[in-house]
C-alpha cells in the first residue's frame, strides 16, 4: 500500500466504549496516526472526509430508520467494514429490550412516544455485509491492533473464537463453576479479553459474545444443577448476545 489506508470510525446505537478503547491505545496512538489516515471520526475530528474509506470501524447497533440508511451509505463507501464491538455485532445490552414490545419500552421512558423513531435494535449485519467482527463489550484493544496490523499485511487477523476457559486456564485460575459453584458464562463465551473477570474473582458474564459452536444447553443444565432457576439462566443468556443465533434459544425465544 502506497497511500496510508483511510480509516473511519462511526457510532450508532451504543455507548462509545469501543471508540474509547481505541483511544486507550495511548502508547501507540501516534504510530497509528503515522500509519493510517484517520479521515472520519466525529468524536475526535471536526473536519471529516466523507468520500470513502479503506476500513470503517462501526460501533453501535442499528435502531432507527435513519441508521439503516446511514449504514447502507457507509457500506457503499467502504472497502472493509468492521462490526466494532458487540453492539454492532448483535445489539449487545440494549438488545435486552427486544423482548419487550417496542411501544411498551418507549412509553416506560417517554411521555410522548409519537416523536420517538426507534425500532428494535439489531447488529449492522442485519442490513449490510460485514467483513470482520471485533467481539467484546468493549472490544479489546489488542484485537483492534491485530486487526489493523492484518489490514496492513493484507492477511486475516488472528482472532480466536474458543472459549474464555482457555485464557482462564492460561492464568492458572481454578474453575469458578466447579470450585465456587458460580454461574460462569466462560464455557460458551468467546475469548479475547484475557479472562479478566474470573481472574478477579467474578464470573464471566459473556461480554465477548458466543464462542464458536457453544454448547449452551449443556451449560444451562449445569447452571440448573448449581441451583439457578430458569429466570436466572434466561437473564444470563439475554444480556450481551441474546439475539445471536447461538444464545437465542437459552435467551428465551
Amino acid at each position: 500500500m502506497n497511500e496510508k489506508p483511510k480509516i473511519a470510525i462511526f457510532k450508532f446505537t451504543g455507548c462509545a466504549g469501543c471508540q474509547l478503547e481505541f483511544l486507550h491505545l495511548e502508547e501507540i496512538f501516534l504510530d497509528i496516526l503515522e500509519l493510517f489516515d484517520i479521515s472520519y471520526w466525529v468524536m475526535v475530528k471536526r473536519d471529516n472526509d466523507e468520500t470513502g474509506w479503506d476500513i470503517s470501524l462501526v460501533e453501535g447497533g442499528i435502531s432507527t430508520p435513519e441508521e439503516i440508511e446511514e449504514i447502507k451509505q457507509i457500506r457503499m463507501k467502504t472497502k472493509f467494514l468492521v462490526a466494532f464491538g458487540d453492539c454492532a455485532i448483535g445489539g449487545c445490552i440494549p438488545s435486552i429490550r427486544n423482548w419487550t414490545p417496542q411501544l411498551d419500552a418507549e412509553s416506560q421512558v417517554y411521555r410522548d412516544t409519537s416523536v420517538i423513531q426507534s425500532t428494535k435494535v439489531f447488529g449492522i449485519g442485519e442490513y449490510v455485509k460485514v467483513d470482520a467482527i471485533l467481539k467484546g463489550c468493549p472490544a479489546h484493544r489488542d484485537t483492534i491492533v491485530e486487526l489493523l496490523k492484518s489490514a496492513l499485511l493484507e492477511i486475516r487477523p488472528r482472532l480466536r473464537q474458543h472459549p474464555v476457559c482457555v485464557e482462564c486456564k492460561f492464568r492458572d485460575n481454578a474453575c469458578l463453576i466447579t470450585s465456587k459453584k458460580m454461574a460462569c458464562m466462560g464455557p460458551v463465551t468467546s475469548a479475547g479479553c484475557g479472562a479478566i473477570c474470573p481472574s478477579l474473582g467474578r464470573e464471566c458474564e459473556g461480554c465477548f459474545g458466543p464462542m464458536s459452536n457453544p454448547n449452551t444447553s449443556a451449560l444451562a443444565s449445569i447452571f440448573k444443577d448449581l441451583g439457578f432457576n430458569e429466570k436466572d439462566i434466561k437473564r444470563k443468556f439475554r444480556k450481551y448476545a441474546g439475539m445471536s443465533p447461538e444464545f437465542r434459544k437459552e435467551a428465551g425465544h
Binding site: 501507540i28 504510530d31 497509528i32 500509519l35 491492533v145 489493523l148 496490523k149 496492513l152 499485511l153 488472528r158 480466536r160 473464537q161 474458543h162 472459549p163 476457559c165 482457555v166 482462564c168 486456564k169 492460561f170 492458572d172 485460575n173 481454578a174 474453575c175 463453576i177 466447579t178 470450585s179 466462560g186 464455557p187 460458551v188 464458536s212 459452536n213 457453544p214 454448547n215 444447553s217 449443556a218 451449560l219 443444565s221 449445569i222 444443577d225
Partner: protein, 349 residues
Amino acid sequence: MNSYNIEKKDMNILLDRFLEDYKVFGPTRPGADSTFDEITSIKQLHLDYTSTVLPPKKFFHPPKETLFSFELKNDKFTTKESIQDKKILILGIHPCDVHAILKLDKFFSTDFSDTYYQNRRKNTVLVAINCVEPSEHSFCSSMGTGPYLDEGYDILLTDIGTKYLVEIGSKTGQKLVEGVNLRKATETDFHEKERRLKLMEKKIKKFMNTTWLPRIARENLDHEVWLDLGEHGGVDGSFPCLSCGSCSLVCPTCYCYDVYDTMDLSLISGTRNRELDSCQLLEYGEVALGDNFRRDRKDRIRHWMLCKFGAAAGGKNSSCVGCGRCIRVCPSKIDLTEVAKVIRGGKQR
C-alpha cells in the same frame, strides 16, 4: 543414594539452601486449587496441598511462550532465539506429576528434539513429595504413577509425622543437601514412610482398569458413549461436553500447541510464539478452505479421551497419569474413568 530426615519445623533451612542457587517454585495454597508460584519464604509453602490447577508442565512447556523474535531489514530477516536458561527448582511435586514430566521428556526428545523444552528442563531441579492425602479425583495407583515415586526426582520428600524423610535421587540432589546439617535417615523413618503410603493407597477412591485399554478404545470408535458425551445426556451424572478445552489445558501430559506470529504496526519486527492448544476446540481441526476434520463435538472428545487412554498418536507419551485434574476442572462433570468403564462394556448410561 543417601537418605536423611529433617524436622518439619526446620524445613526453612533446606529452603534457604535451595534459594541460594535457584529460583524456587512450590505450591502456595492448601487444597486442590493450589498453584505453583515463586517461593521466597517458608510461610508461602503449602506442601500439604492435594493438587494444583496447572501442573508443573507450565515451567517447561508454558501456556504461552515466544520462540524467537525477528526483524525484517532490506527484505532480509534476522532472528533472535529466546532461550530460557534460568535455573529453577520446583519444590513439592507429586509423583503423578513427576511421571508426567518423564513422559514429556521422552516426547520432546524423540525424533526431533524441542530446544525450548529441553533447555528449560535441563535447568530445573525436581524436589518431589510423596502424596499422603489423595485428592478425591486422583487414581494414580491405577496408572502406576503413585502414590510412591521411585524415579525421576533429584530429591524426594515424604511426610512421616513431625519429620520429612529426605531421599536423594541424583548428584544434583546430593550436592544440594551437602552442607545442610541433616541427620541420616533411620530404619524407623522408612517403616513410617511405608506405613503411611500404604494407608494413603487405601484412601484412593478412584480406579481405572488399564488392561488393553488402548486397544479397547480403538475398537470402540463407534461406541454410543461418544455421542452421549458430545451431544446427549453425558455419562453417569455428567452433562454433555462444552468443548471448553479445560481438561486438556490442565492435563500434565497434553502438549498440543498452536504457533502464530506477532508483528508490530511498523511491520519491521515481531515474534513467533506458541500457545497451548486443545483438540477439544473447534478450530484445532481446521484445514485450508474451511474444512474441519473434527467438526463434531463427539469427534473432539473422542480424540481427547483416546489420547488419554494411550490410543492416539501421542501414544504412551501423552497418556494419562491419573492426577485427576481433568475430572476436577470439568464443568460438565465428565470423568474419563467412567468413560473407560463404559467402553469396556461394564456400565451403560
